[in-house]
Amino acid sequence: MLDQPFASDLPAAGTAAAVVRFAGDSGDGIQTLGSEFTKSSALTGHGFMTFPDFPAEIRAPAGTTFGVSAFQIQIGGDAVKTHGDTVDVLVALNPAALKTNLPSLRPGGLLLIDTDAFNKRGLEKAGYETNPLEDGSLDDVRVEAVEISRLTREAALADGRAEAGVTKKDADKARNFWALGLVYWMFEQDRSATATWLGTKFGKRPEIAAANVAALDAGHTYGDVTDMAPPTRLRALAAAQPKPGTYETLTGIDGIVLGLTAASALSGLRLHYCSYPITPASAILHGLAKLEGEGVATFQAEDEIAAATAAIGASFAGGLGVTGTSGPGMALKAEALGLAAAAELPLIVVDVQRAGPSTGMPTKVEQADLNMALKGRHGEAPLPVFAAAGPGDSFDTVLQAARVATKFMTPVIVLSDAYTANAAEPWRLPDVDAMADIAINRDIDPEGFHPFRRDEDSLARAWAVPGMTGLAHRLGGIERAAGSGHISYDPDNHQEMTDLRAAKLDRIRDFLPAAKIETGDDAGRVLVVGWGSTRGVLKTTVEELNAEGHAVGHLHLRSLSPLPRGLEEAFGLFDHVVVAELNSGQLLDELRARFPHIPFRGLNKVTGQPFTVAEIDAALREHL
């Protein structure tokens, strides 16, 4: 074990960011620790990005490696856009957590462990043959081995709390807060928000709340009073310099939930979110279900096909039909999307991608549904496909999707993924009054009305809905005559309609903002192109390379279909264009087909894990 002071390894004060990872058994309340630490970090004005790392099992046997739950957060200044490649402070509440998470701790990093959990049984369950505390395997890191369980118990049961009904079991459950208290001490963070939260959470059992607060305080005090080397530099972490405004902590799921709700508010259309539970998309359903009664309707359908078709029905009847799912469920919606495309109805389809194929690894991240989103329908049914580039961007993306869906009368696919869905970042609340209406034109003249007559600019047909007098019409999936919408098998009409459906995408391209380099140089050596959840890591890497003086740029695609204007020009200004994605090269193929003259290179990873800055950095340096 190292004995040099921990803090010396941290980056310089003022620019510093630090990465903390909490790990323990699924029953240990790790995600709660994570969200409390996140909240406090936010309240002390830090930038951050989080990465909850759940086990696949609901509740695996305690103490096993496959039951380990973890939560990682990077905090620091505004520059923090990723949850961090390697960990500075690792809290491991049991041997299994140590075993699975130690590889993430950087050499010299601080490891906080509960020695009480490192008994024979615990080690065995984790599959350790020798005790890592003794066998030299922790030589590279600085270990703070504390009898957390014992200390927690003492604190929790003191002051008459045992008498007030706090049991040993209750006390043991407070162990995570002891650890959190110590981490708060390291970062010199205020723990009052957590204490308040505990008070509310255990509102009906104040003695339990008090026990947990006592544990929290005890952990904090431990830092003060022991001879633990004070990690001073941690305390000097850069604070963020955010724009003035009101902020909250937003996950990608929150972004979608709020974005859809905003789309409803701005359009005056009642939101109908129709879905069938599936990890990780279910959380959208959960979030929106809470808003029932406030103008949001949710429908838990019997399967994904029913979810998609019910949403289509809701749109047909004049609502804002939305359906959301993850990979396997998205595959099931293909036929329904074809119908919505043929009927030219507005619809939003959210796919929170997870690792595939088939059931794959449901809790892990991947960007491998892009192909399916772009091309996974029979016949030719081109649709807009947008991707959310992070939690906050999820809000903007679904809002944009709603605008395009209603303006152009088309289904829009929104891609998120298991990483963005669960990651959290600080988000500045938008100014609701400043947001533009989503205008729905229902001023349709029954005189000469035809359901497939189009607006010349947008190529959208008029959206007449049941209940409107004089506009009754029939929609269907059989090819429709351009204009009248009557069934038509006419060859020329089919070509015309096929071309019209494709031309709509061109009009959407015109409507969308042109592509622009969002980070780094506008021309130079290497341009890295990404989409979706990789934005943070690409941006961070490019910023670092720019700081080193390299002419590197980052372009992040929000719309994968249609591809935005100005791409070719942007690509042309760099010697190398690297396309980074968490799949085997799906966007890469798409770009190659569109821009045969650009020598794209792929940077791909399909492990169920997000990219690290180190990986991107290494790949880009190859071309410097």
Binding site: G45, T246, A262, A265, A306, F316, G470, L471, R474
Partner: protein, 346 residues
């Protein structure tokens, strides 16, 4: 009326003139085979709509795919000819978005019982306020004659040249098993019966399931002749009436006696020969009785026509707590955004 968008600019509907079947007749040429039973059903549906009196713009017909599923094109209401089997789910969405609409779903036995079985079942379970009409020709018409889940065992068809080995599903039984609260049966050409059943279905607030025996002249001609023919019909069918004894026959001389010990029905003579007390009385709220009546079939037993089961229950549409006309607005959005744990940077 469209509850979602009160500011519709289209002219107000005239709600005073009584409607006729013609008001529900679209300008589209009807394209079924000459002699297809769907023509008669269409006629009964149009007549029922006129009688029921909802304005065409407040009526929506949703269908899947199949010959029967062409219905929407021929009605001057709003219509949506969707994809195979999914019409009940689409209709659930329609009704959710605008509970004020009068929503009908039409699909064949393949559409509702084969690929669409799950959506049928869940619509019934939820008791969404929809009228489901299933023309049952016991064959896949549109795809040219393969046996369907409703086809009799042994049916020879292009996909079962040696005769199908599958037991048919009994649509009414399936609906009852799924928790349906309104299950009825009629036949295409019974114009003195079908409209009444359709009206009863419409009156039920919840999912009403109506099986309509329908002749496919091309691929399963005469499958229900015995049931429908003037000559044999009276002997081969029984018209159920709630609270009335289960009597049938051209002379009203036969009755149904249910033997509860075995859960089976048998025909007993009425009047001269048999004792009247042997005849069971129809109680449309008795689910056990419904399962016996639903399963009656020839040659020994008459096919039950009319309302087999009706036990109204709160509909999904009514139970959903939220006010269906309510929409999130900017004020609500602002409230929602600041409802979480926020912090302010100035």
């Amino acid at each position: 009326m469209n509850v979602m968008n009160p500011d519709i600019s289209a002219p107000e509907a005239d709600t005073t003139t009584p409607l006729t079947a013609r008001d529900f007749t679209s300008d589209q040429e009807v394209r079924w085979c000459p002699g297809c039973g769907d023509y008669a059903i269409l006629k009964a549906v149009r007549a029922t709509l006129a009688e029921v009196g909802r304005r065409p713009e407040d009526v929506v017909f949703v269908s899947g795919i199949g010959c029967a599923a062409r219905f929407p094109y021929y009605l001057a209401s709003y219509g949506f000819h969707t994809i195979h089997g999914r019409a009940p789910a689409v209709a659930t969405g329609v009704k959710m978005a605008n509970p004020d609409l009068d929503v009908w779903v039409v699909g064949g036995d393949g559409d509702f019982l084969s690929i669409g079985g799950n959506h049928l079942m869940h619509a019934l379970r939820r008791n969404v306020d929809l009228n489901l009409l299933m023309p049952n020709n016991a064959v896949y018409g549109l795809t040219k004659g393969q046996y369907s889940p409703a086809s009799a065992t042994g049916m020879r068809s292009p996909s079962s040249p040696g005769g199908s080995v599958e037991a048919p599903v009994n649509a009414a039984m399936l609906a009852l098993g799924a928790g349906a609260r309104f299950v009825a049966r009629s036949a295409d050409t019974l114009q003195d019966h079908l409209p009444g059943v359709l009206k009863a279905a419409h009156a039920n607030r919840g999912t009403s399931f109506v099986e309509i025996l329908q002749n496919c002249v091309v691929f399963n001609d005469g499958a229900f002749d015995a049931v429908k023919d003037k000559a044999t019909g009276a002997e081969r069918t029984i018209r159920l009436e709630h609270g009335k004894p289960l009597v049938f026959g051209a002379e009203g001389d036969k009755g149904i006696h249910v033997d509860w010990a075995t859960g089976t029905a048998r025909v007993v003579p009425v009047g001269q020969g048999g004792a009247v007390y042997d005849v069971t009385v129809h109680d449309q709220t008795n689910l056990a009785l419904a399962t016996i009546l639903a399963r009656m079939e020839g040659p020994d037993l008459p096919v039950a026509l009319g309302v087999i089961y009706h036990a109204p229950g709160a509909s999904f549409t009514d139970l959903r707590e939220d006010d269906p006309t309510r929409t999130m607005d900017r004020a609500g959005l602002s409230r929602l955004l600041s409802a979480g744990k926020t912090w302010t940077v100035s």
